[in-house]
């Protein structure tokens, strides 16, 4: 066996001698995904009457959006932007697709459109949140993915640079969704006007740093795909025309298109508009990439932002195995240590308090003793004085007549009251 050493992550490149068969793997993946079916969620944004419903119905050749009913004129103002979604299960060549289209009626229609993108942004983020919640569930076997895979933004064919509302909207959404701006009602512009208009739009987009979805080729693509991608890229932003009706051409054939007094514009004619390119990019070549980018890039960025803002910290340590017994013992040990520490502390404190109290008691005892001595000495002094006085009184004593007795009683009283 020949062997050529390569440096692809330490693995050697080896050449095989016969057919093994693992190249059949993509087919197996294909069969499994076909069985499972796909889903695709598209959002359309643009002012009323710009052709959103018609384009969607034309793209999928199905009446996903019904005809708008005519409402009588009313004095009620538009109530802001609504976000509504319609789903359809469509099938082609055995491949089942659950298509969801999210409409945004009311965008840009009011006099004041300053917060028109807010409900749309909230809707996109709430879908991310729903997915995040499902990912964090205990049982993750069934996750329903209704994240927005692409937003088609309809630009009015003014011929001038982008309007304020276009720029503001795209700036706020380009990091959250795959943004695909298209020029609506392209039959208004001649070929040269369109060329200039596209250049102006791209200049505006670059100037404001807006990221739009672009097909890129990498080294693994075959030259056919590379050429295709380059062709698609050259037409961005697509100038499209939609039509659900079939019209008769001069030669009698029926085509989807719009009939004017001066001619018929054909939806599927690449020389008339870029509808074919849009359909190709959106459905035939880059649908998977749109979903992939949504999942791997846009959603991940959103998730990171959200978790960081919630206070999670990135822990790059290897996840240690969870063993309950070991953990319990560890806990017990730490707990015991803690207990011992507390006990020691408490005894120390107790001792200290005892000492303090003893000292205090001693001190007061001494004080009391001192006071006692003092009082005793005072008392003895008083007693001595009294004895003295008594002796003096007895020395000058004569027999006491009853009248003197009475008088001395009084005097005695006075003597005593003299103290």
């Amino acid at each position: 066996m020949k062997s050529t050493s390569g440096n692809a992550g330490g693995a050697q490149k080896k050449k095989m001698n016969g057919y093994v068969g693992f190249s059949n793997f993509p087919n197996q993946v294909h069969r499994r995904s076909v069985k499972r079916g796909f889903n695709f969620t598209l959002m359309v944004v643009g002012e009323s009457g710009i052709g959103k419903s018609t384009l969607i119905n034309t793209l999928f050749d199905t009446k996903i959006f019904p005809d708008r009913e005519e409402m009588p004129p009313s004095a009620e103002p538009i109530k802001g932007v609504d976000v509504t979604s319609m789903s359809a299960d469509i099938q082609e060549n055995g491949v089942k697709l659950r298509l969801t289209v999210v409409d945004t009626p009311g965008f840009g229609d009011a006099i004041n459109n300053e917060e028109a993108w807010q409900p749309i942004l909230e809707n996109i983020e709430s879908r991310f949140d729903a997915y995040l919640a499902q990912e964090n569930r205990v049982n993750r076997s069934k996750i329903s993915d209704n994240r927005i895979d692409a937003v088609i933004y309809f630009i009015k064919p003014t011929g001038h640079c982008l309007r304020v509302i276009d720029i503001e909207f795209m700036k706020r959404l380009h990091t959250k969704v795959n943004l695909i701006p298209i020029i609506a009602k392209a039959d208004t512009l001649t070929a040269s006007e369109l060329e200039q208009f596209k250049a102006k739009i791209l200049a505006d987009i670059n100037y404001h740093g807006i990221q739009i979805f672009k097909p890129v080729s990498d080294e693994f693509d075959d030259p056919e795909t590379v050429a295709e991608n380059r062709e698609i890229l050259s037409k961005i932003p697509f100038a499209v025309v939609g039509s659900e009706k079939y019209v008769d051409r001069a030669d009698g054939t029926k085509v989807r298109g719009r009939s004017y007094p001066w001619g018929i514009i054909e939806v599927e004619n690449e020389e008339h508009n870029d509808f074919i390119k849009l359909r190709q990019m959106l459905l035939r070549s880059h649908m998977e990439e749109l979903k992939d980018t949504t999942d791997m890039v846009l959603y991940e960025n959103y998730r990171t932002q959200k978790l960081l803002s919630m206070g999670h910290v990135q822990d790059n340590g290897v996840f240690r195995e969870f063993n309950p017994l070991v953990q319990m013992e560890e806990e017990k040990r730490t707990h015991d240590a803690k207990m011992q520490k507390m006990e020691a502390e408490m005894t120390a404190v107790f001792q200290q308090k005892v000492h303090e109290k003893e000292a205090k008691l001693k001190q007061s005892e001494e004080e009391l003793y001192a006071r006692h001595k003092e009082m005793k000495s005072v008392l003895e002094k008083q007693k001595a004085e009294l004895d003295d006085k008594k002796k003096r009184v007895e020395a000058t004593a004569r027999p006491i007549t009853p009248m003197e007795q009475q008088a001395t009683k009084g005097k005695k009283k006075n003597i005593f009251s003299g103290f």
Partner: protein, 334 residues
């Protein structure tokens, strides 16, 4: 010419001669969002490049934050008749996210012109010929594709129709098929009736004769005019045609089956031109004048009442010059 011929029928020729000498003013204001085709339409109507588009051309250009008023005056001459044509563009109108009040500078400009005229009329020594800057017509540009009138359109039209002659048009109507056009026109007329918005031409019950009335009715049916503008002439089978060339067909703006351009041009210039000027003077200007003078009178009554309360003799107040400060001050006296 018999002896019974008096000759006063030559007055029309005398008037014509005077007109040729003096010329006249025509002032038209264009109101609509950027990119609706205002400049192109005006340049198509007068078959000359009169105004430049004021749309934003490069990414570095700053986006206007308010509605600007930019009048451009030129003198055109045709068969000896001179017209001083002023086209007033309104760049910035309706271009913001928040368009509340974007109509205020427009209404103010129109009223200012009425006020300027009034001020000059009230002077003791008047100029023999007052230079008429009053707005004679307003072309209001509707958005093709919307169901009908947008909320902004309703608000602005209500106010505009009170001060000037409004002619609603759809400029880039080559994006609508004939059916869509009919539906849109019907819808717009319904909504204007609902919101009581009256556009020019007005229904004058008394002084119109049958011919005029029929013409006005047919004009009213066409409103809003679905037009296409073009400054280029293209070659169609050997003939030079003013129009637009698409990959799927060529639009000839003078072809009545393609668009209403011819009707609009004839209506504005060939049949109703003098009527536009007259109606501006008789209806809109008079309304303005009446309301202004009434306000002046009220002001003066208030002042007199105040002065009487303060004990000043009423005679002193009455000798004030009649050109008291007008409640609506004009910005510039042209």
């Amino acid at each position: 010419e018999g002896q019974d011929y008096v000759g006063f029928d030559t007055i029309t020729q005398q008037m014509e001669r005077k007109f040729l000498k003096r010329g006249f003013n025509l002032n038209v204001i264009l109101v609509g969002e950027s990119g609706m085709g205002k400049s192109t339409l005006v340049n198509s109507i007068f078959t000359t490049h009169l105004v430049d588009s004021q749309g934003r051309r490069t990414a570095q250009e700053v986006i206007r934050k308010t509605t600007e008023i930019s009048p451009v005056t030129q003198t055109l001459e045709e068969n000896g008749v001179r017209v001083r044509l002023t086209i007033i563009d309104t760049p910035g109108f309706g271009d913001q996210c928040n368009n509340e009040g974007c109509w205020v500078p427009v209404i103010k400009y129109i009223k200012d012109q009425h006020a300027a005229y009034l001020a000059r009329e009230l002077k003791p020594f008047r100029d023999r010929i007052i230079n008429d800057t009053r707005v004679h017509a307003c072309l209001y540009f509707l958005n093709p594709g919307s169901r009908g009138l947008r909320p902004l359109d309703v608000e602005v039209l209500k106010r505009l129709t009170e001060v000037t002659n409004v002619i609603p048009v759809i400029a880039k109507s080559d994006s609508m098929t004939s059916d869509e056009r009919t539906l849109f026109k019907r819808r717009v007329k319904e909504e204007m009736a609902f919101h009581r918005i009256t556009t020019y031409p007005y229904a004058n019950a008394d002084d119109d004769d049958d011919e005029d009335r029929m013409l006005n009715n047919s004009i009213r049916d066409l409103i809003p005019f679905a037009v296409v503008g073009s400054e280029e002439t293209i070659d169609v089978d050997g003939t030079q045609v003013r129009g637009r060339r698409h990959g799927w067909g060529v639009i000839n703006i003078f072809d009545e089956t393609h668009c209403d351009f011819v009707h609009l041009r004839n209506f504005m210039l060939r049949t109703h031109l003098s009527d536009l000027i007259e109606v501006t003077a008789q209806r809109h200007y008079e309304q303005f004048r009446t309301s202004q003078l009434r306000q002046i009178k009220e002001l003066r009554d208030q002042q007199a009442a105040g002065a009487a309360a303060a004990g000043v003799p009423p005679g002193a107040v009455a000798t004030q010059p009649p050109v008291a400060p007008l409640p609506h001050q004009p910005v510039a006296q042209v």
